[in-house]
């Protein structure tokens, strides 16, 4: 019986011990820094995107199934994954020629 009482506690506290890893991505002069981001495979990851340009940019990735506008001079969070190991390209939809990058899940 005791196990059943513990189950909800375990479910509630699970997100606490499995802290979501966070990675920082900077947009400057319509480029992503770093342009290659290595993340752990199989877990959810929080990307903090810091747009240091004056102009808005849109983080877009068909492979990650994510899109989000980041206003100029502001920060935003995008949760991705859990990802299978592999390469996931992303780009800045407003400046697709220069703003290119990829997430590598290992």
């Amino acid at each position: 019986m005791r196990k059943f009482y513990l189950l909800p506690c375990w479910l509630l506290s699970a997100p606490l011990w499995a802290a979501t890893p966070e990675f920082e991505l900077v947009i400057r002069d319509h480029l992503f820094f770093p342009s290659t981001l290595e993340v752990p495979a199989g877990v959810k990851v929080r990307l903090m995107v810091d747009n240091q340009d004056e102009t808005p940019e849109e983080f877009e990735s068909y492979e990650l199934n994510r899109e989000k506008v980041i206003p100029g001079n502001s920060r935003t969070a995008i949760f991705i994954g859990p990802l299978k190991p592999g390469e996931y390209p992303f780009f800045g939809e407003f400046y697709p020629k220069t703003a290119q990058g990829r997430v590598i899940a290992k």
């Binding site: 929080r46 102009t55 506008v69 969070a77 697709p96």
Partner: protein
Amino acid sequence: MFLNAVILVLQEILEASLLLSLFLLLTALQREPLALGARWRAAWVPLSIVLGVLGSWGFAALTPVVSAWFDYVGQEVVNAAFQIVTIALLLTLGYAWRGAGEASFLARGGGMICLIVIVTLAITREGSEIILYTQGIMGQREVLTSVLSGATVAIGIGVSCGVLLYYILRNLNDRRALRVVALLLAFFSGNMAMQAVLLLNQADWLPYTAELWDSSALLPENTVLGQLLYALIGYEATPSLAQLLAYALACAAFMLTPLFRRAWARGEIQGE
């Protein structure tokens, strides 16, 4: 940049354009349940567009503020809320649907408010992205011409698709047209629910569920056909289990409304 601009702007325009077409068809085919007076019939479309454009400017201007809400996932949460409100209003419209002459919520103006708010929210969501995009590319003089011509082409395609849908269905007999309209509104509800789930996943407000399939090699989303199907039936190349469930649920909920059931009932269309 030209094609990029076409796809980006088309993505935003199509949904609002097709939705407006469906509502125009609905109000043309079924005048009585909405009890539209001549004045409202002429005014609700321009009114929704004006409110939508104002909403777009407001929402675009507020994006930096909204973005920081809820630990930097405010945009997802607010957009998902818009979509959930849209589904709720579509279902209200569908469930309140009555035959001609029956006193109802719709006849007292409720239906009109549903139509106006749904279209205003659609234009606000989509329009604010176009405004942010325009602000984003203003700094690049060398691509401005190709982006502006791309955007113009996209607006042309988007509006044409809406007009085309309207006239194709208007040329069917009324009964068939109403069936298609009801079916597309059910798909639209499903699409809204699916998009809301995707946004809430991105915000980490909903847990991750497995991706069901990947048809991006067969039909990529970033093509004109992909965008058209996305706007029309909610095509998604890599849907997750939760997205598919939300789609099915919202679609089914709309299919149970009197609006849908009357449209698909045997015999004469009621309410005409």
